[in-house]
Amino acid sequence: MADIKNTVVKFQSIIALLALCIVLTIMSDKFFTMENGWNIMRQISINVCISIGMTLVILTKGIDLSVGSVLAFTSAVVAGLFKYGIEVHQLDVYIGFTVFGAILTGLIIGCILGIFNGWMITRFKVPPFVATLAMLTIARGATMLWTGGLPITGLGENFNFIGTGWFLGIPMPVWITSILVAVAVIITKKTQFGRHIYAIGGNESAAKLSGININKIKFYVYAIAGVLAAVGGIILTSRLDSAQPNAGMSYELDSIAAVVIGGTSLSGGRGSIMGTVQGALIIGVLNSGLVLLNVSPFWQQIIKGLVILLAVIMDRLNHPNED
């Protein structure tokens, strides 16, 4: 009996997802189409990207509220460098950036911002909530500065291929995200690094006393979150053909929602990447369904909030002895 219960719990989110799909297929004939399928996958790809990093952070019992702003700043930098390069009048120097160069720079900046978060959290013991909240405002401000409050547009086909292109019949964003998911799954399940992440979230004190380098792993985890936020930003910018100064607003909330709905515990040590993907899918399918049914977008917000509550209540009931 207990085994059956355990299996049901494990597949809870998949069952919910399937049920949702079935209901929506019945209610709208536009739902169960290839086109809508790719739509949903494309739309959730940015969230999945960010949420991979968020999952790792939350697994260590941390949180990263800055992902939305980091996404905005890095995408603004990438777009700006690609379109305008760097000009230093006094030295008569102009540095141009290729697509590859701009993207690389963006990823590095995302990494640096993540490392800064990690540094605040490990060296100065700033609580993750506070440290990343600060970064949220700092990065947003930096985005405004860099863009002057205006979007950077007109990036050209080469750049926009990332967000709008197709390869072997599958949209590029889906390729990128799927590869990242696969890598993340391997890391979490099959590497020492992944094992250590779970140990730190499960019991940081015991992990420390077992010789695990807590600070190093936390650094990496926040750095990864930063890089993945940058990846999300690049996909978004190339889809819209513009870097918006207010891009990514409240993306962190959608990301946390996906992580939590997918069964990762905010108290750390429990959860999975695939769970998060399922959580993102549930949100994506829900959004798509509500749009197809002509439900007001404001209802979407209310329903999303209720789904989060429902998911966490289920989680609590299944793990009653947790902190």
């Binding site: 399940k189 590497t191 140990a199 015991a206 077992s210 010789g211 380098n213 040590g269």
Partner: protein, 506 residues
């Protein structure tokens, strides 16, 4: 012949089930007035469950309770308290950032006529309670500023606030020094004279013989007998009551030949963070040879745990002194350094510091040596599982499989998993901090045998313990630590309780 009316609290045919598990079955128990009624039983016997029923934590059970010969039910702990049953929990339930008064009156605050808190009255009554306990602490002191022993006194003061008729004490001396234990026993004496009934639980057998008036045995949820005249009872009678079988050879240490020196520490000191001139441990010097078990005995606050933490790399910036492994000097600036140099530490609190309870046995066993279960860059579950199966067998860990969650194991088995984790690192030196804390008699024995066999394999072992009989039974040499310094050294031949205790309170 006991007078029937001498009991104040009686449990009649009490049964408690959790799903399909029967924790208590048909328990009939009398708690006698003016006496210390000691309940003995191994871990998992049901003592905790029984106490929770008697103190109102579990309001649902089969059977009935009689208080003063009248049937009574407790809907919650507050209800039980108001009816005269007080309980002192094993884990202190105090709020560190509130003061003594606020903690004592938590949940039953006194209000003045305006509806606000009457701090003056509460402080006065708190002082009264502390005086009853011969304690002259200021009731406005914050709990976090108190030593553990003083905190336990506050916990007791909480319990006796409402003129309790029955006071239940669950391992009340687990965290306090021997001098404070003496104070507690004096308090128990005065409570007895006031006709309060005491229900006492403890694993420390020698303590029980000092304090008990009668013993009641609980085994596998059933009452198995009682010894009405505790003063006449012998240790073997008591163990038989607890365990139901004679424990043959209550641990006898096998002699082990000593090898070369494996660990030497010179002038180890750790200053206090806020007072650089005062020390947690000062000028510690000792050495351990392969195959030797060195016991470190000391009271609360002596610095025992901090000594182990320092040697294990947890205070790298503040510590001073030199450490030598196999006569070579080593720099230990982190736990990772300590492990690289062949040290292992089994911490005092296995649940908080030793295990990741949500992970299974396998993952816990490999945690300090994950590199060894990696094949082709990836974690290999076959390697991992066979590693833990090896230790499940050799340490006789009772579990359904290596995939059982470590949080579901009993205390003794959890401790074995922690030991397995360190054995998997093939250490040269093993530090054990209170290795049998909260573990029942049989499991204690098993752990002593494990320690002995590790010594036979050539490890140098340092055991820190506050249980004198334990230290004396397993150590080849005993150091006493008192107020940050080493105050005595005893070989097995020289070791006797009085001298060791004298050295430990210097």
């Amino acid at each position: 012949m006991e007078n029937q009316q001498n009991f104040i609290l009686r449990a009649v045919n009490v049964t408690k089930k959790f799903g399909s598990v029967t924790a208590l079955e048909d328990v009939n128990l009398d708690v006698h007035v003016g006496k210390v009624n000691v309940i003995v039983g191994e871990n998992g016997a049901g003592k905790s469950t029984l106490m929770k029923i008697l103190s109102g934590v579990y309001p649902e059970y089969e059977g009935k309770l009689l208080l003063n010969n009248e049937e009574v039910t407790f809907s919650n702990p507050k209800d039980a308290m108001q009816k005269g049953i007080a309980i002192i929990h094993q884990e202190l339930n105090l709020i560190p950032y509130l003061n003594i008064t606020e903690n004592i009156f938590l949940g039953r605050e006194i209000h003045n006529s305006f509806g606000f808190l009457d701090s003056e009255e509460m402080n006065r009554r708190a002082k009264e309670q502390l005086n009853r306990l011969n304690c002259n602490l200021n009731p406005k002191t914050l709990i976090s500023d108190l030593r553990v022993g003083e905190q336990q006194l506050v916990e007791i003061a909480k319990a006796i606030l409402e003129d309790a008729k029955v006071v239940i004490m669950d391992e009340p001396t687990s965290a306090i020094s021997d001098t404070e234990v003496e104070s507690l026993f004096k308090i128990i004496d005065s409570l007895k004279k006031q006709n309060v009934a005491i229900l006492y639980i403890s694993h420390k057998l020698d303590e029980l013989f000092k304090i008990a008036d009668r013993f009641i045995g609980l085994r596998d949820g059933k009452i198995v007998g009682s010894i009405e005249n505790a003063k006449d009872a012998k240790k073997d009678d008591l163990i038989k009551l607890m365990v139901g079988r004679d424990i043959k050879g209550f641990y006898e240490k096998e002699t082990v030949p000593f090898g070369e020196e494996v660990l030497r520490v010179e002038n180890i000191s750790l200053p206090k963070i806020d007072h650089k001139s005062s020390f947690i441990i000062k000028d510690i010097n000792f050495s351990v040879r392969k195959g030797e078990v060195l016991g470190v005995f000391g009271l609360m606050g002596a610095g025992r745990t901090e000594l182990l933490e320092t040697l294990f790399g947890l205070h790298p910036t503040l510590m001073t002194g030199n450490i030598f492994i196999e006569n070579k000097p080593v720099k230990i600036n982190s736990v990772m350094d300590a492990i690289k140099n062949g040290m292992g530490l089994v911490p005092e609190d296995r649940k908080a510091d030793g295990l990741v309870l949500q992970m299974d046995i396998s993952k816990n066993v490999s945690m300090a040596s994950v590199k060894n279960v990696i094949k082709n860059f990836f974690l290999n579950s076959t390697l991992e599982d066979s590693l833990s199966v090896k230790y499940i067998d050799s340490l006789k860990i009772k579990a359904s499989s290596e995939k059982q969650l470590s949080g579901n194991l009993s205390g003794g088995n959890q401790q074995k998993v922690v030991l397995a984790k360190w054995l998997a690192t093939t250490p040269k030196v093993l530090f054990l901090d209170e290795p049998t804390r909260g573990i029942d008699v049989n499991a204690k024995n098993e752990i002593y045998h494990v320690i002995n066999s590790l010594a036979k394999q050539g490890l140098g072992i340092i055991v820190v313990s506050s249980e004198l009989p334990e230290i004396m039974a397993i150590s080849d040499r005993i150091l006493t630590l008192s107020n940050s310094k080493i105050t005595g050294e005893f070989t097995q031949a020289e070791a006797n309780e009085e001298d060791i205790m004298k050295a430990a309170i210097k």
